[in-house]
Symmetry: C2
Subunit: 453 residues, 2 copies
């Protein structure tokens, strides 16, 4: 019998996160203060984040030790399996080898707790009482609820309204771990009220929800804010995924030619890919592919410039690929990928051609998801299915070229809370929304008064 | 760092199932033909089951080899972890040690594929084209859909109407693996029409759904029937759980004093407990506790007698604890436990005091579920939460007695498709339905013309 799941023991969980800033061959532009447009000082973030996270945000130390308290909560579900997808290979009749890192095994069902646990811990040790956050599909919100529960912190989640309504079970899960949840835009914040005044039926967006969560944290000293993606420290915490994968490939004496992940803000992609990119910087031959939805194509159609992380312009200006902070993507089912920007570090790597980016429509993505579910068994999250679609295309391409490649992707989550989307797919009710260049230009025009890179 | 998850490698998956019939200290009464009331002959089942399963149903061979083809599909999710529940122990402040076998890791999210895969395989190799079955909460239906998909069989599922309506996502999951699903009672069978004629709003029951699935299989030579619990061969396939657990306890040089599982038909309980009972028969000191809902208390309030497995009296007469084959339990959220009977083998063990039985109300069960979710992280299925409630009570009892016990239970599934039930619990909308003895006597009176044991 062939071994499918390449496992590490709990004792083999990596003890450090990997910080790409230590090895990045070019310096990333600094984030800017939202009002002064001057380079951000660490202290400017002190009202939102605890000192340790601010330090990690700017650190250039290559490996950052993971505290024992965090490792103990990681051990609830880590190390996650690296799986050789023999059945998917068979279904595709490909000569290539396909592996996936199965991050769906965490109790919230995605990679998100890897940073939620770390953020809850670093806030807890400095006496913070409550964390606020936004959530799209609900994966980040449930991860933070899960993490706060372990460290005795209160948790307040603003969930993008369209997901709040479409995913009631994800909402119940957040409540099961003891957190409070509101649909966004809400009437509970100035940011939310401003949006609702203009459009009472606004389906919401991650940008708006961030504004609401940040506003609450800014106005309450005992409350901090937690972000589920985009920032350096979030990407840092996720590198536990790639660090484990490196060890697991060693066990089977194999190594990927291509590393693939879906991108909303960029954290699951970075978490898997950055440790491999370290080896690419050191000379290893490797391609990394970031996959996004055509409905929200920041990396493939956005501008590389300074933009706010949120709709109400409360966050620092980040150097990134963006569709404009007022861009509201259509209601695709991959709610976790409906973000107007992308992590500055990932954006830079795409800009410098160290990472490839591509976009897919949601029907072809769901077709790939069903292929995966019927071969590997696991029903993937619509977000993760974007990566699967790229895997299938790369395997086909390799076969056409007559070569054998080793392809690794991140199964960032399962789709147990997305079954209504599968229903819509089977009933052929999914729409492949695109948008015209004029719409994009209009959205980007809002940025004309902002600094450029 | 303490090790939480005790893992086996894929190569260590046990190669045999354990057949309790080889060691049972007393012979079980034979099942009877539904019409003649004569002891059932193996051939009487040939229109429903393939030869290998009929052979397993009556075999007294102690260990039955697991075919390689089945082991390969098992390896999609097996071996399942044995977890030391340090966090639950901490939450209870107990001195006892608590372990659980985590069967929620399978793609359908429960222990059910352990037998679904075996049944699909044995049907496939004799040329059967389609399997029909019933499902309550949907766990069995999704497991059979998952298994049929791997062996290229069509799959037709009758889902108890109350669950069909309350659990649309479980239904979509069944469809994602390519199966067809109908609510039961349906107008598609004589059995279903007979029930609907009397009560057009009938919420359904497992007994009715079994009748519908069996009727279809009886009328189509290319279609066989698959049952998710109760029968000897189903319990046999589930013993992979306990066989793995025995190996895992060896790894940590520990052994349970108490083994606990919830009971609908009895298969997850048997799967975990039977291999340990083998050692009990050989002199080991061990208690086994079967836990059921007060709303459907076959083991604690039912009669030990011959009864049909279904409402329409199509199945053989089984010697078991039963509430009467027309008993329709109230709409509790643990849909998988809404069965009027219990496996004959388990019934016999309860009758002979080798297994203890107890029943709990659903609100206390959900309280236990939340305690588990907030300590161990995983949100348990309402069915499995019955076992958790008993674990908590046993740990408390041990503390009161000033002793330390090692308690093992089966986390038979996760609750990702039961979040509406959690919602109802948090909003204090759960009802603790009981029923009067007169109602039970009335239900059992239907059995007066049937043979007794």
């Amino acid at each position: 019998m062939k071994t499918r799941k390449i496992m590490l023991t709990e004792k083999e969980i990596p003890r450090t996160w990997y910080n790409l800033l230590a090895d990045c061959p070019f310096p990333p532009p600094p984030p800017l203060h939202p009002l002064t447009h001057e380079p951000l000082k660490p202290n400017d973030l002190a009202h939102l984040f605890p000192p340790a996270l601010i330090e990690q945000e700017v650190s250039t130390q290559r490996f950052i030790p993971i505290p024992e308290e965090i490792l103990e909560v990681y051990a609830l579900y880590r190390p996650s399996p690296l799986v050789r997808a023999y059945n998917l290979e068979g279904a595709l009749s490909t000569n290539s080898k396909i592996y996936y890192k199965n991050e769906s095994v965490s109790p919230p069902g995605s990679h998100k707790p890897n940073t939620a646990i770390a953020q809850a811990y670093y806030n807890k040790i400095v006496g913070v009482k409550r964390l606020t956050t936004e959530t799209g599909a609900g994966q980040w919100g449930s991860a933070l609820a899960f993490a706060c529960n372990y460290f005795g912190l209160e948790c307040l989640v603003y969930m993008v309204r369209v997901s709040y309504e479409n995913k009631p079970y994800r909402r119940s899960m957040i409540e099961a771990w003891g957190a409070t949840i509101h649909p966004s835009p809400s009437k509970l914040t100035q940011s939310g009220r401003a949006v609702l005044d203009k459009d009472p039926d606004c389906p919401g967006s991650l940008g708006i929800a961030i504004s609401e969560a940040v506003e609450i944290a800014m106005n309450d000293k005992q409350t901090n804010y937690a972000l589920g993606s985009v920032l350096n420290h979030v990407l840092l915490h996720q590198t536990i995924i790639g660090e484990e994968a490196l060890k697991q490939f060693e066990l089977v004496s194999d190594y990927p030619d291509i590393v693939i992940g879906c991108v909303g803000g960029g954290s699951n992609f970075a978490g898997l890919a950055f440790p491999f990119l370290r080896e690419k910087f050191a000379g290893k031959n490797l391609r990394a592919i970031a996959v996004e939805p055509t409905a929200c194509p920041s990396l493939t159609r956005g501008a590389y410039t300074y933009d706010y992380g949120d709709t109400s312009r409360l966050t620092p200006l980040m150097p990134m690929y963006t569709l404009g902070h007022n861009f509201i993507p259509s209601k695709i089912h991959a709610g976790g990928l409906r973000y107007h920007g992308a992590a500055p570090l990932l954006s830079l790597l795409v800009k410098e051609d160290l990472v490839e980016a591509r976009a897919y429509h949601q029907t072809e993505v769901f077709q790939a998801a069903v292929t995966f579910a019927r071969s590997e068994g696991i029903i993937p999250a619509p977000e993760s299915a974007h990566a699967i679609k790229a895997v299938i295309d790369e395997a086909k391409k390799a076969d056409e070229e007559g070569v054998t490649r080793t392809i690794l992707f991140n199964l960032s989550g399962h789709g147990h809370f997305d079954m209504s989307a599968y229903d819509a797919f089977f009933r052929q009710q999914l729409e492949d929304n695109n948008f015209a260049d004029e719409e994009l230009q209009k959205s980007l025009a809002q940025l004309c008064d902002l600094p450029t890179i």
